[in-house]
Every structure is written in C-alpha cells, then in structure tokens.
C-alpha cells in the first residue's frame, strides 16, 4: 500500500511538473522567437510605432496596443455593471428556483465556443451597427459588445462567490441597525466584497484582452489607431491570429514579438489579480 501510494504521488508530481514545464517552454519559445525583432526595431519604436507593414519590414504595434485596450475597456464598461448586478441578484435576491435557472444559463454562456460568439457578432451585431450608424459595421463597438457578453460568466461567478463569502454577521448587523436590504447590499455587503469583485473585473479583463477568434471576425482588423468607437480596429491577438497563416521569416518573428507584448499584459493582469487581498473586509 505504501509503495502504491508513493507511485501515485510520483505520477501526480510529474503531471504537475509537465504543466509548469509547458508554461516555461512556451514562454521561452515566444521570447526567443520574438526578441530578435524587438532588438532590431528597438523596443520603443516597436511599441510606439504607428505603422504596421510587415512585408516591408516596418513593425509598429502601437495601433494594436491601443486597439486591444480600447476594445477591452469597452467590454468592461458594458459587461462589468451587468455582471456585478447579476452577481448581486444571484447572491442576495434571487429565489433558489430562479437562481437554479439562471446559474446553468450563465455556465452555458461560458461554454459557448468563441467562434460561435464571433459568428453571432458577424451575423447580427455588425449588420446592426452598419444599419444604425450607416458605416462599415466592423468596429470597436462590435468587439466590445461581444466581449462584454463573453466576460459575463467570469465576472458573475467570481463576484457572486465574493459576495457570498461576506460574513453573515455584517449583513445581520446592518439589518439590525435598521437599514433596509438594499441599503445593506449597497453600503455593507458590496463594499465588503470589493476585493473579490475587483479580482472578477481583472479576470474578465484578462479574458477580454486574450480573446482572439471572436474578435478577429468582428472588428475589421485595420492596423490603424481608431478615430472613434465606430472605427475598425486591430487587437494584439488579432494581429497574430490573422497573419500567422502566411507569415514567414522576420514577419513571423514580429508576430511572436507581438505575442511577447500580449504575454506581458496578461502577466501584469494576473499579478494584479494575485495582489488583491483574498478575504472580504480587509
């Protein structure tokens, strides 16, 4: 029995190592492939360059950085209020029967493949924007709308568990002081859960910034700093996704370099999410 357990332990340890090893391998690969281009172009020129013309050896990803941030910000503006509202409703107000219907629905939302979101955006949202604003339809706005829906499950699930983990005493104390249920939610429960809710927003942001397929299908992918939220835009992920197919040589390395920048963004977000104190009320 002892030997058997030791074998199991070893196998599980190896599994864990493989997972970590995967991360290390991928990081090493992306950096070693992409770094030569960054060194050649210069980090500052690479990040602040306004023109992306890979077949002519001009690599500036500033439009894509702005693009990623804009689309993500738009998604947060639309998705965060709805997500937190939904989380409060599920945690505090919904009757078990209603929550029993809503929760699987939200889980289903998380399970829809991103290409389906893209298809929906392409078939419904882009034509809608085209009709309303009489433009090309592919835009920051279209991307933000679809991403807002895509990040809802993350925001709702994490926020809801944060709200649920607020000690009962807080709510009871608030109610016993004579405040109404809504006052308790607004002034006690949600503020107490704010670190968890912040984590939810950051995780949602990570999901939005990393999304590729759905975004490629609906934002137009023009490598240009958008003039407004109705202009087409290209994101960092889109830049890699759309050009990887035929890219060779330095062009391909420049796409890996784009990957490094994206990687740094995601890493910063993950670090930020870890820095937030875990317990409610702290």
């Amino acid at each position: 029995m002892k030997a058997y357990e030791r074998v199991i332990q070893l196998v599980l340890f190896i599994s864990a190592i493989i997972a970590v090893f995967g991360v290390i391998l991928i990081s090493y690969f992306i950096i070693s492939e992409g770094y030569p281009v960054i060194r050649k172009v210069g980090l500052l020129d690479f990040l602040s360059g306004n023109r992306w013309a890979p077949t002519q050896g001009v690599y500036g990803i500033y439009p894509m950085i702005v693009g990623s941030l804009l689309v993500t910000a738009g998604a947060l503006v639309l998705g965060v209020p709805i997500g937190i509202g939904c989380a409060i409703f599920l945690a505090e107000l919904a009757k078990p029967r209603i929550a029993g219907i809503l929760r699987p629905g939200i889980e289903l939302l998380a399970g829809i493949p991103s290409v389906i979101y893209g298809l929906y955006g392409l078939a419904v949202i882009v034509p809608f924007i085209r009709k309303v604003f009489n433009n090309q339809g592919f835009s920051v706005l279209a991307g933000s709308i679809v991403l807002a829906v895509m990040i809802l499950p993350t925001i709702i699930n994490v926020s809801e568990s944060a709200i649920r983990s607020v000690p009962r005493d807080y709510k009871e104390a608030s109610l016993s002081l004579g405040s109404s249920h809504w006052q308790s939610i607004k002034n006690v429960i949600v503020p107490a859960a704010r670190s968890g809710i912040t984590a939810a927003v950051i995780l949602g942001m990570g999901r939005a910034i990393g999304e590729t397929m759905a975004v490629i299908m609906i934002v137009g992918n023009s490598p240009l700093v958008p003039e407004s939220i109705l202009s087409p835009v290209r994101t960092l992920t889109g830049n890699i996704g759309i050009e990887m197919g035929y890219a060779g040589g330095e062009h391909q390395k420049a796409l890996f370099a784009t990957g490094i920048v994206l990687f740094v963004f995601i890493m910063l977000l993950n670090i930020a999410a870890h820095l937030i104190p875990k317990k409610a009320g702290e």
Binding site: V11, S15, L122, N221, P232, I242, H251
Partner: protein, 284 residues
C-alpha cells in the same frame, strides 16, 4: 476515495503517455535504386511556392524516394536561377520578357483574382485606375466612380497572403518606391471566405478573391475590369487584367526527376491539385 485515486492515476498516466509518444524517432527512408531517388531544387516566386509545395507533396505520395527542395526568392530569382542552372526548376508568377524566352516554359496554372462587390451595387465594372485609387484611399465614395452615394468599404486580405500579394502587384497598389500602399483603414480579413462574407453583407463594400472561389458565389457580384468581364475565357486569353500565369522554367529540356515532376503537374492528377487550391488549370 479509492475510485478517485484510481481516476487520478489514470489521468496522470494518460498525460504521461501523451507526453512521451511525441518523442518517437522519425522513420527514415532508404535511398531507392530507380531514377526517382534523386533530388532537385526548385526556387523562385513566393506566390507559386505554396502551390509547388502542395504539388510536391502529392508527387511524393506516389514517389516517396524523390527529394524536391522548394525555396522562395521571387520571380526574378526563379528566372535567373533557371537560366544559370542554379536550380533545376525556376518558378515565376509573371510572363517571361522577350530576352528571357530562351528558357523552357511550363505554364502550370493561372491565377485570376476577381474584384467583388455587393450584388445590390449598381456598378458593373471599374478601370484598373479606379481600383488602384480605391485601394490607396484616393477614391472614397462610390459616386466618384459613377455609383450611388456611399462611403466605400475597402476590404482586403492580411499581409503575407498570396492573394493580397498578387492583387496589389497586378493593380499597382504596390509601388517600387513606397511598397504596399493599401489604405490603412481597409477592413482586413484573414480568409477568402471572410472577405466574401463581408462583401456579401455590406452594400458599400469592395473586395477581391481568387476567381476559383468567387465565381459560383451568388452572394457577391464579380465586376469587370477595364471593360473585360471576369470569366474563365477572358482570364485564359489574358484580357482580364488581374490575372497572372504560374510558370515553371528549366534551362533546357527537363530530364529525370525534373521531367517526372513537371509531367505529374501537367497530368490530370496534378491539375486537380491546382484547381483544388482555387487556381485555374493550365491544361483545360
């Protein structure tokens, strides 16, 4: 508890096996005794290269001992390499100039690019000049080219795409001094299908796609260029301007593996590969 442990064990084992099987040694081919065991080098046009690679793959399925090394470099390099005998076969995606005609020339495919608009668009045709100006952002409204007022949605392919390369070269959107001048606000799509979907959905869009994949699609309209409609006949005849031949070139009459490969390309089987990649067959 026992079941959980067993499950965990199975999962871990599967992971481990999956990780290890990736390391199996590659099989090596024994060199063959027949003439097809030799190796040839092909270089030249990067537009022809992907098709040549597909053809070589199909060829090698039947002749596993042959080694065909395919490299890029551009049409100019392909023509020069064939002339100098540096490569066994050179690839070119443009017609030969008179002074280059001493080479043996094999047309393996024709690449035609259809300019497409939404079916509701009244425009029936554009001149090369107008197409150039639309794609460089000089013309931005359909009324400037005789259509109904509406801001033109320019749709293009991503950089690196062979279709985009051919289109900007043939329409002169790509200039020697400034390179690719495609207007930066153009909607960029990563596949022919996405371009067609975009044009099909936007009444003001203009796009382009390989003739092979656009010809039978009724969601879009193929327009004429310089007064010539985009049909197979006009492309073959060279009347329709946004088209180009894919050539394979040899210094002298090909022999051995080079001949076998060229024969294969021009056979029905090879030409099926050509049309499968949305190029027009060289042999009707």
């Amino acid at each position: 508890m026992r079941i959980k442990k067993t499950l965990a064990f199975i999962c871990a084992a599967v992971l481990l096996i999956g990780a290890l099987t990736g390391c199996a040694p590659a099989e090596t081919n024994e060199p063959a005794a027949n003439g097809l065991g030799e190796s040839i080098t092909i270089n030249g046009s990067t537009s022809v290269q992907p098709l040549a690679e597909e053809l070589a793959k199909a060829f090698k399925e039947k002749n596993p001992d042959a080694t065909i090394d395919i490299q890029g470099g551009g049409s100019g390099v392909g023509i020069k390499s064939a002339a100098d005998g540096v490569a066994d076969i050179g690839m070119s995606s443009r017609d030969l100039k008179p002074e280059e005609k001493s080479l043996k020339e094999f047309k393996i495919a024709v690449d035609g690019i259809a300019v497409i608009v939404n079916p509701t668009n009244e425009i029936q045709g554009l001149s090369m000049e107008q197409i150039l100006k639309i794609y460089t952002g000089e013309i931005t409204d359909w009324k400037e080219v005789g259509g109904k007022e509406g801001k033109i949605t320019v749709v293009t392919r991503e950089e690196g795409s062979g279709t985009r390369g051919a289109f900007i070269e043939l329409t002169k959107v790509e200039s020697k001094s400034e390179g690719d001048r495609t207007v930066a606000s153009a909607i960029t799509q990563g596949s022919t299908g996405a371009v067609i979907t975009t044009v099909a959905g936007d009444p003001n869009a203009i796009g382009y796609a390989s003739f092979g994949s656009a010809k039978e699609n009724t969601d879009i309209k193929l327009i004429s260029v310089d007064g010539k409609t985009c049909t197979e006949e006009n492309i073959y005849a060279g009347e329709y301007k946004i088209s180009r031949p894919f050539l394979m070139l040899t210094q002298a009459e090909p022999t051995g593996l080079a001949k076998a490969f060229l024969d294969f390309i021009l056979s029905e089987e090879g030409q099926t590969v050509v049309s499968g990649h949305n190029y027009l067959k060289a042999v009707k």
